[in-house]
Symmetry: C3
Subunit: 363 residues, 3 copies
């Protein structure tokens, strides 16, 4: 079986969830890249993340008590500062130099948390793939989360080719099957850390999720999706519904509806994935029914994906090795896969895996 | 851990269930020999079986749509003909030669489906162990199914020695414990692909399952079981209850009651088994209460076996390796085990295992 | 993965539960050291233990029938005497010499059962760590049992350092956090098979479990715990609550309350543990409400440990190898761990692991 280091890149920012998921005074246990982490907000307002295993006996720090920006393990009372250094041992004065829990930079941007699981010296918050619409008052949406019993890369694969909308989501996000036949990815751009494509579907019935809330009630629209995916699991999409024949370069915004969508897939383990998302719109901002309707439509669509992708996971795990066949439409994903493999390889060369030699185990 | 090829023979017909289990227009997912398969009935009436993993991304074809005798994967819309060849890719004209899903001959006989998991060129439906009473109007019974959390070979082992009736089934299929002491297997015949034995229990109280429905209400009977077991997991039994002193060669059928029983054990995985069965009789054919009573009695008996056999499985899996001891009564089973091992060996020599080298994995 | 022989010592007495758990005429299945065992009380009153796998087909003897001091497998009726020797095979006269199930000495002392999983020639009941208060009418308590989804050694680790009372059990067994800072283990004695320590906490508020039942209603007490732990998982504790300033050598017992506590941790598997316990007191013996209150308080405390320890187990199993750091307070546990490792090593040298070569498997 592959080691985590052969599966994951460590020196990059992973989305760690919504800041609103962290309650004041309450540590939160969450696993990233198969490593159990505890996250909390210190009394200074700073966010803190470290291994969830007390260095003494691997007791869960997530059962611990926040004291200032520190956390106290509630097994034998060892206290750690926000960098994971043990600063108090009840009943013992001397604290060994190696009484330390690995800690991780944890940064908030636009209401989301980002964690750096690698060398903290290399962590630069400017590299975070912050999504501007999340903090733009022109857009409104709801902070959402689901969980996948599947490898994160299959969700990337799903998002990299929208042909599946025609077959998986005809009654939610897609529309007719025609979408798969008549529209294709255009303007594919490959980045060193991801890709972008545009997909037009012109003069077509709008998909159900839009038509049930659209103030226009259009029979036909021109629909444009611009998808950008970055490593690790960062997905951004700009969606435009415009009157048939609309010229995007015209600057005309009359009856043009814009959506902004971000989705973050962070590996929990090799076979499970955290998934945070927010679907936003730029119209009827105060109409809560529309907000709820869009959230529910998107969620229904994501559940259609989830059923299918989790079955893929089972089919890949429980039978002989699977050689996938690639379609033309898979070029963006193949590029992403290649980028990821290169990043792992480069990181492994720079930071060879350290063998952990246990001198005295508990069990 | 052994590979599936070290555990199973592929070039033989396995029972795949009752044809009635397949609903019109609805693909059915079922695993055989640790391989996930999709089965369906095409619009022509032909039965189709192929790997349940779309060659593109291993999406489950069992979530797909039947079109004529073809099936369309409802992920990206790839369409396969009844031999597993991809014949349409939405949005792409070219279809690679290797866009194929392995398919398997699937044949219906006497209301049962039979699948050939090996080289389809070798598949000859004449080799199927069809059970004549299933399509003989002189017999009536119900199509039944149960599922075992145990290796199929332990069910064969169970069926190969009826001494267990005395201890496992005294209140259902057996009768008194005397059965184990006073009757033994006779006329054991070894076949190249199985065995047969006869077991008489003369002048004895009939077992409960018979006595509650028998029109005679006999206090004592002569009971004869003739059991035949073939590879892979095919079990046939002729059971006769006759007046004490009956001469089977006499041709006398007065007050002689006949049962016909077929059971099919098909490995789902190395530790789980499909089990289809039908228990038939040749009297009171229209009496539905008798039909139900016999089904319920047999099912109660099978549940007694299932509890025990599933505990055997746990005991074999969760402790040190187990060296079984063989009894005289185990000769038929030992022959069967030897036949199976020889078949695997011969098949492996003819068809050495192909290493699957994955060029580009998804996950 | 380590073999059971690398994890466990076989030639010693393990606690096997309360004798009262064995019902007359009913075999009990229980796993010790990853080996499935059946235990029963023969009609002579003797206790019997042997492998739970019939030598024929690994059928569970726990589904069998007790006949005298023998047990009959209810699959094919093979009968075993109390030493595991097969003495009857229905329908077969000859019984092979190797038709034997390994059996284990099983002895009752003070209402508890003790099993010897190693070489029965070496088993001497005098070596059993019998706990005298269990059969002393001056003490009263209830026979209790819980089950841990964790390696037994982590429970030893928990019990070896009472600093955790301050943080895990402040509202049940502990009291204030001061306990961790102001009291330490004293008079640590290392034995070749365990250790003992004493811990005083003077002039302090009594812990909730005592104060709610104490006839005195003391505001402050001197509290003394004397803990002894022996291999394998034997824990004894004498607890005294006395008026502040009490001199233990004075012989003064006025308003001095004594508790006696035994706990037995027997490995079921490497990741699960049997836990039997009894908490006894020497006052108000007839007051059932006090008996129940103490049982409930202790159980509440044990559940606090269990939540934490089972999370430790998950954290140790599901992430990279863990190097524990040792505190001064861990000296007793470190000694215990060293003793155990030495015992395993010595036993492995004397009794090298036998390879089991299977000639003819069932499955």
């Amino acid at each position: 079986m592959k080691t985590p280091e052969e599966l994951f890149v460590y020196n990059c920012w992973y989305n760690a969830g919504w800041a609103s998921e962290i309650e004041d005074g309450k540590p939160l246990a969450r696993t990233f890249l198969e490593k159990p982490v505890v996250m909390y907000r210190g009394e200074s307002g700073n966010y803190v993340a470290m291994d969830n295993r007390c260095c003494h006996r691997a007791a869960p720090l997530s059962l611990g008590r926040i004291e200032g920006d520190c956390i106290r393990c509630m097994y034998h009372g060892m206290k750690y500062d926000s960098e994971g250094k043990c600063i108090e041992i009840p009943g013992q004065d001397l604290i060994g130099e190696n009484f330390v829990v690995p800690s991780y930079p944890l940064v908030e941007k636009s209401g989301m948390l980002w964690i750096w699981m690698g060398d903290s010296e290399l962590a630069n918050p400017d590299d975070i793939h912050d999504y501007a619409p999340l903090s733009d008052p022109a857009y409104v949406g709801l902070e959402q989360q689901i969980h996948y019993d599947a490898n994160w890369m299959m969700i990337i694969d799903n998002l990299a080719d929208f042909s599946h909308l025609a077959f998986v989501h005809p009654n939610t996000l897609g529309g007719s099957e025609e979408y798969a036949y008549q529209s294709t990815h255009q303007d594919i751009e490959k980045y060193y850390n991801g890709f972008q494509w545009t997909r037009w579907h012109k003069n077509s019935a709008p998909p159900p999720y839009h038509s049930v809330v659209s103030p226009e009630g259009e029979a036909k629209v021109d629909r444009r999706n611009v998808v950008t995916i970055y490593t690790p699991g960062v997905f951004f999409m700009e969606t435009t519904f415009a009157p048939v024949g609309w010229d995007p370069d015209s600057g005309d915004t009359d009856k043009v509806r814009e959506y902004r969508n971000c989705q973050f897939m962070t590996p929990e383990t090799r076979s499970t994935t955290h998934f945070w998302w927010c679907y936003m719109r730029n119209y009827d901002l105060d109409n809560e029914a529309t907000t709820i309707s869009l959230r529910d439509s998107l969620l229904a669509g994501f559940m259609e994906d989830k059923v299918l992708i989790e079955q893929q996971q089972v089919l890949l795990e429980n039978s002989e090795p699977f050689q996938p066949r690639m379609l033309t439409a898979d070029r963006p994903f193949m590029h992403f896969r290649k980028v990821w493999d290169r990043m792992i390889k480069e990181e492994r060369e720079k930071y060879p895996r350290k063998e952990i030699k246990i001198r005295n185990a508990i069990i």
